[in-house]
Symmetry: C2
Subunit: 357 residues, 2 copies
Amino acid sequence: MPKSRPPTIADVARHADVSIATVSRVLNGTTPVQEDKADRVRLAMEELQFVPRHAARVLASKRTNTIGLLLPEISGAFFSPMLKGIEAAAHEAGYDLLVHSTQQVKTARRKLGEQNTDGLLIFTNSLAPEELHRLHSFNFPIVLLHQIPPDSLDIPVIAIENKDGAAMLINHLIEVHGRRRIVYLRGPEGHEDSVWRERGYREALEAHSIEFDSHLIASGGFDDEEAFAAIQGLLAAGIDFDAVFAGDDDAAIGAMRALKLAGHRVPPDISVVGFDDVPFARYLSPALTTVRAPIEQVGREAVRQLTRLMDGDHADALTLMRTELVIRESCGCQVSASAAQKEFSSAGGETSYNESR
Amino acid sequence: MPKSRPPTIADVARHADVSIATVSRVLNGTTPVQEDKADRVRLAMEELQFVPRHAARVLASKRTNTIGLLLPEISGAFFSPMLKGIEAAAHEAGYDLLVHSTQQVKTARRKLGEQNTDGLLIFTNSLAPEELHRLHSFNFPIVLLHQIPPDSLDIPVIAIENKDGAAMLINHLIEVHGRRRIVYLRGPEGHEDSVWRERGYREALEAHSIEFDSHLIASGGFDDEEAFAAIQGLLAAGIDFDAVFAGDDDAAIGAMRALKLAGHRVPPDISVVGFDDVPFARYLSPALTTVRAPIEQVGREAVRQLTRLMDGDHADALTLMRTELVIRESCGCQVSASAAQKEFSSAGGETSYNESR
DNA sequence: ACGCTTTCTGAAAACGTTTTCAAACTATCC
DNA sequence: GGATAGTTTGAAAACGTTTTCAGAAAGCGT
């Protein structure tokens, strides 16, 4: 007997001498089935190595059991923990994960939208607003990451405390290290995180009666090369500054590099701080002072809200994840030996430090 | 007229006054259709905002247009470029990407295997050998990443030149820096990359008539914490060594940290080298000497081989990606200003350096 | 005009599940 | 003992495409 085609539910039914409906029921546990029959079915499935055909289930049940993830691009140290959180949470909730990086928005629309996914996780800038409108118009489950919905659509959002985080950083630079001319390196065009961080930056300046100086703003693109170039530009233009708040940790690297190359000492001459606390931040030298964003948690939380939506429940309109100041050395602090030891041996919080000036 | 349910191909057919078969044909371009009819169909699709239902297509056509990616876990700096390459290549080839991290192998089997995916990309250790056997037994398209198939099954493999890379590194440590007692930090249990790197390590020692000493082998787990602990263990045990070949860059970080904490200077006292050249490697201090693995390329190549297989063509049994020695400072070399400059301003190759001893 | 290809087209049969509906049993209660 | 309520069950109808098959229309050489 040639094992020609993979077994279907009908084969299982025949083999167990029940109807296909019964097989389906033990498969899904939708309706009780007599124990002996159920056992026969399970045995048959095992023997035939039956694997349900996903497409058929989807077609019949109208549930895809899949969630889609839309991203503008996969890159940076930021991405990995994020995906890890999303994948783990999706898995736990019983969903598959379809990943789409949308250099070209068009194709994404066709494949992930509506019919082919039970819900969508959408990262900043990865979908055009009109498409968002369309999906939202028929209540398709969506959760936005790091992006407030356009036109105040009521789509749930997961974001981090950018403004507060930035303000903590700037306050520290001003209050502890006496910095007053602090450069801010913006992130990519239209990136919301960057906008909020700038807002925190400005508010912190204002709270200390330091006038905002637009010469101190440059574009670092959340990218090491771009930040490098930006700082070189500032230096070449003769702009005077004593600290750099890089848009994120990647940009901080570029900034430090440019400063060192130009002969400036970081931090005694110029402080540099980042944002995110990606894994390598603590290993730079000087170790990077930054703000810790709970990236993996953001991913998990996004899935949690999305599953609520998919279950027909109500999701929180806005989930703002707490950020936490992480003092290391690049701001000018000297981390005490014990604190360093503590950070090094466990990945725990690091709050104890000594001021250097 | 209440817009109750999403439009189907039948609605489009009615709207354009053709049969559903014709709609299907213009959708897929399988058979020529008269221009005017085709236009009517396209118009109707546009007006009705028709989106083909993936599940129905899959069911009818028996092609899922999806490839699955199986990983043991999502983590480390290594992962991001890899996924980037895979996603991009899959996208270009017209496939969707389903990502599964397989802490629990069972579920993965059900959802990704055979029927629900056109092909599978399988990363080291993420699938049990018997399952591999089963899939292979009916010619299911599979490509293995960083893992030689068990029992010499003829499943295509993408791997990197681990042995040569490791040997280059060790040769450099011996020949240029006169190191002779070189620690090797193994990766996770059963990780093939680690095995090959160790082989390169041993061969390089042998080529220089240095006897292999098992005391110099420890387990670093491709992980910064584990490597940290391993080096501390070695130090505590009073093992004498003058260099550390960490299993990968993450482990190198941990090693450097442990050494510094114990008061050893890296590199004058002890050289440390890594493997992979993840993005942050150049930013450590001392900047990490390592071997560059073309991670993103590995991902792209894997997809390329897999698509061949899925098209029924023959794939290359083994694709070995070249690795490249990247000399920086942690081995003891002093990168010249111009070389550093070059590396810093472009991400290009960095081969020029000065020896320090 | 007449057959003979060639090109397009529509009806209808898959594809493999879930779900609805009603029927067939089994208890349970008076 | 009979009626009623509650379980389990199977037949058959979706689900929305692709694909096969045969027929209609159109071109073309004579």
